[in-house]
């Protein structure tokens, strides 16, 4: 099976039912997407498929087709931060950080389709991503700050 992740092509030999998450983590060693629940209840595994946020624990590799996957590793790096990662650091969002890959992928997906979301739209788009540490207030501020930066640029 051929799969494209962060613009790199890989060949994997796995069952079509294997969730994309475990192909990424265990077969390809791409560990930014996290396992939290396995049933689309927490959002820690969120990646982009053709640019849209998808819970990688719910997408079987056999159902990916020729869609392109990008993960938090493809969003930006410590040397070249995505605007979302930049405001995440500026607002000191992360505590344990485990859910944050998913939070940022969801936020980036929201801003790519809606660069100026209202507070209600942020609340709607981001409430599928669970955080147990309670970083929510800062997630909200960081998204608003990123939207402002996009508006200003």
């Amino acid at each position: 099976m051929e799969i494209t992740v962060n613009d790199e092509s890989y060949t994997v030999d796995v069952e079509p039912e294997m969730p994309l998450l475990w192909v990424l983590r265990d077969e390809l060693g791409i560990t930014g997407p996290k396992y939290g629940c396995g049933i689309a209840q927490c959002g820690a595994c969120t990646v982009h498929v053709n640019g849209y946020a998808v819970r990688s624990c719910q997408l079987a590799i056999g159902d990916l087709g020729d869609s392109k996957v990008s993960t938090i590793e493809g969003l930006g790096s410590p040397e070249s931060l995505h605007i979302i990662q930049k405001t995440w650091i500026e607002h000191q969002v992360a505590q344990c950080g485990y859910c944050q890959s998913g939070q940022m992928m969801q936020a980036a997906s929201l801003l790519s389709t809606n660069p100026d979301p209202s507070d209600d739209q942020i609340d709607a788009a981001m409430s599928g991503n669970l955080c147990r540490c309670g970083t929510y207030p800062r997630i909200r501020s960081a998204i608003k700050a990123a939207a402002k930066k996009i508006q200003g640029s």
Partner: protein
């Protein structure tokens, strides 16, 4: 009532027998210096001047032995060392290092004594100091009890200062310039002529000289790293997906393991059929382990799927089958003299006061709760004939090591525990069942590293939970004042059981956690009594963020609120009037000020509630404002005032308070762990939702610095969160909810 059940100031200590019986020996042992564990493995030209700092030609390593579960502990420990060492901590290598007795937590037992935290009398302070002795004796390298900052505040800065002065001494010898003429800056010793000698160049020389130990700590006015907002050192990695948690680690050639253990925790396996599992793709082995079955495969998902395909017949769980039966046991001990564990507060004459007149009575209840951190329990273990290596996120690394020693028969120096960054814990990682399972599996395939990852379902059905508890409250009011307050709390004893698991032997004596957060509150009520009753340990229980105060904060403040309202007094003003501790009074006044408190009423369908709890020495007051909407209760705004003595990082403090308040409210809103057929019923987040972003109110935090001692802030935000919400719901709706979670009786937006 037996003697052991009576708490006196002489015997009310954790592990009272061991400690009371061993003072002399203990004092001797406690004074004996612990050897610096870094010295054992030093290479030529490496210096380890204290157990916390290692310097060689390639760089500086700071040892941060308290685990980081997300609370920023590595950052804070590194900055405490850096403040005196004069380095930029961002450039240092920061690692928890290998566990060792040198890293015992002296502070963690300080507040387990029969003196409330606001008592600064000489006797109380001396006993607190004494509590460092058992901590050292038992090599308690534990992260917990919001103790990382108070324990490290002096210790880590001293380590930095000793290292700095020793490096200066080495520089003095090399340059011929007297030590007191040398300065230090950014990892170098600066000579009077402005030339610099890097610490890394001086390491080899410093390693050979006697450390300078008569050092002075700098006053806070000279701090460069502390007392101001900092960027957490772990932040860039956590915001780019590059932080490697235990679950992300890969060891060459490692296999992936899954387990299914008896959901009746502690009971075994009667039989199992692994026929189908064994034939599934990638499965290498299926083996019986203690109380369960394990699968070894070539991929996590394949291992889990195979584990699900095993047909297992479980033995019957070793405790009552259902939540109703379990709570029945708890209710049965409350106010029953034979089950009294301790009565640590007994002022005035409650019995006489309650003999006649109008008596208020109410029963409160809090549920069992899972920790459910986002990262499920996991461990990698490699066992060979001569050593055992363990990679795992844990708050108890030395106890993990000791268990591995017992299981493998290896010597302690051949067992290595590498503590990994953790995706949350909330106390979950004070337990180590998963590591023991991983060791057992790894011993069956010696030479191959085995990575065990619990599925979310395995994690939430094999947790050591926050104990459920029941409290009966009684009271009386007169002349618009609260006059009598009597609280009886029933709960299973938590700490003796936990110590038993850690050290292989149970500890007799009373368990303070039954009433922590209610017996020790800074109030002066004419007739004031708090009694703990001990239920048998049934389902597995352990420490959960804020431990005893998590339930007691709700019991104590809810009863107080009801009595104040019954007296017709203002909830904030009466709490302030009753409070006997100046620091706490200022916290209450501050929360009133920032919330614009003018009574609990805010118009139709709106209301505010105030709550207060002192836990881990931190007085914390919260005002919550709520609105009743058609869709349910909406939390509009929350105001928090705390006092931690000294604020080392206001940005991280605010984050911890946000986290604590949200954690406390989230569980109060909609979380519980219930049992049927001996099994926990909430096995994933669909049934244990907590708070989602849209439900989170704006939270305003103010930290005061009037307290005498520096305190940790990881937990104190939790206990008053639930009662402030409950009190606000009452103010908005007239509905008093005395049982958590609230959503059994009222909807939330």
């Amino acid at each position: 009532m037996g003697r052991l059940r009576t708490i006196t100031r002489r015997t009310f200590l954790i592990g009272s027998v061991a400690i009371v019986g061993g003072v002399a020996f203990g004092t001797y042992m406690a004074k004996r210096p612990i050897k610096n564990p870094l010295l054992a493995d030093l290479e030529e030209d490496e210096a380890a001047i204290t157990p916390y700092i290692k310097i060689d030609a390639s760089g500086i390593t700071l040892i941060t032995p308290r685990a980081d579960k997300g609370q920023g502990a590595y950052n804070m420990q590194a900055r405490l060392i850096a403040e005196e060492l004069d380095i930029d901590p961002v450039t240092a290598n920061i690692t928890p290092g290998l566990p060792g007795p040198a890293y015992y937590n002296g502070t963690v037992l300080e507040e387990s004594i029969p003196f409330p935290a606001y008592d600064h009398s000489a006797m109380a302070e001396n006993i607190r100091k004494f509590m460092h002795v058992p901590a050292k004796l038992f090599a308690m390298q534990i992260t917990g009890g919001s103790s990382t900052v108070p324990d490290g505040f002096v210790k880590l800065r001293m380590a930095g200062a000793i290292a700095r002065e020793t490096l200066k001494k080495a520089a003095a010898q090399r340059s011929g310039v007297a030590r007191d003429l040398l300065k230090t800056e950014d990892g170098s010793v600066v000579l009077p002529d402005g030339s610099r000698l890097a610490y890394t160049e001086l390491a080899a020389a410093a390693a050979k000289i006697e450390p300078v130990t008569d050092v002075q700590l700098r006053p806070s006015s000279e701090w460069k790293h502390l007392g101001k907002p900092t960027e957490r050192i772990d932040m860039p990695a956590k915001c780019t997906g590059t932080e490697k948690y235990g679950i992300d680690l890969r060891i060459d050639g490692m296999a992936h393991a899954a387990v299914r253990a008896n959901p009746g925790v502690g009971a075994g396996v009667e039989s199992f059929d692994a026929n189908e599992a064994e034939s599934m793709r990638g499965v290498q082995q299926v083996l019986a382990i203690k109380n369960g079955v394990a699968v070894i495969a070539d991929n996590t998902w394949r291992a889990w799927r195979a584990a699900d395909a095993i047909d297992i017949k479980w033995a019957v769980g070793p405790y009552p089958a259902s939540t109703a039966e379990i709570f029945n046991e708890i209710e049965n001990v409350v106010d029953v003299e034979a089950h009294r564990d301790h009565r640590q507060r007994d002022e005035g004459d409650v019995d006489e006061a309650l003999e006649d007149g109008e008596i208020f009575e109410a029963t409160y209840k809090v549920p069992y709760l899972a920790h459910a951190p986002m990262e499920p329990m996991n461990a990698i273990v490699l066992v060979t004939d001569d050593k055992c290596e363990i990679w795992t996120g844990t708050q108890i690394p030395l106890f993990v090591r000791d268990h591995a020693v017992k299981m493998t028969g290896l010597d302690a120096e051949n067992v290595f525990v590498y503590v990994q960054p953790m995706g949350g814990s909330f106390g979950h990682k004070l337990e180590n069942t998963h590591v023991l399972q991983a060791i057992e599996i790894a011993m069956a395939v010696k030479g191959t590293a085995v990575k065990l990852v619990w599925s979310r379902e395995e994690d939430m059905t094999h947790d050591y939970l926050r104990p459920g508890a029941v409290a009966k409250g009684r009271g009386k009011v007169a002349d618009g004042k609260v006059e009598t307050f009597d609280l009886s709390v029933g709960q299973s004893a938590l700490l003796p059981d936990w110590f038993g698991r850690l050290m292989g032997t149970g500890i007799p004596g009373p368990d303070a956690t039954i009433t922590t957060g209610s017996w020790d509150q800074p109030f002066d009520i004419p007739n004031y009594r708090v009694t703990g009753y001990r239920a048998p340990v049934m389902v597995p229980i352990s420490s959960w963020r804020s431990v005893g105060a998590s339930g007691n904060g709700f019991f104590h403040d809810s009863l107080l609120d009801e009595l104040i309202l019954k007296a017709g007094a203002d909830p904030l003003a009466e709490r302030i009037r009753l409070c006997l501790d100046d620091t706490s009074i200022k916290v209450l006044e501050k929360v009133g000020e920032i919330s614009g408190w003018d009574g609990s009423s805010m118009g139709e369908n709106r209301g505010r509630g105030v709550a207060f709890c002192m836990s881990f020495g931190v007085p914390t007051a919260i005002v919550s404002e709520v609105t009743r909407t058609e869709a349910g209760i909406r939390i509009d705004k929350v105001y928090v005032a705390v006092d931690v003595g000294e604020v080392l990082d206001p940005v991280n403090l605010e984050a911890q308070v946000f986290g604590g308040v949200i954690f406390g409210m989230a569980h109060a809103m909609n979380c519980e762990t219930t049992f049927e057929n001996h099994a926990a019923q909430q096995n994933n987040y669909h049934a244990f939702e907590g708070m989602r972003l849209y439900q989170v109110p704006e939270i305003e935090v103010v930290a005061l610095s009037n307290a005498k001692k520096i305190r940790g802030i990881g937990e104190p935000g939790v206990p008053p969160a639930a009662p402030s919400l409950g009190n606000a719901i009452y103010a908005a709706t007239g509905q008093r909810i005395r049982e958590l979670p609230f959503n059994k009786q009222i909807d939330f937006v």
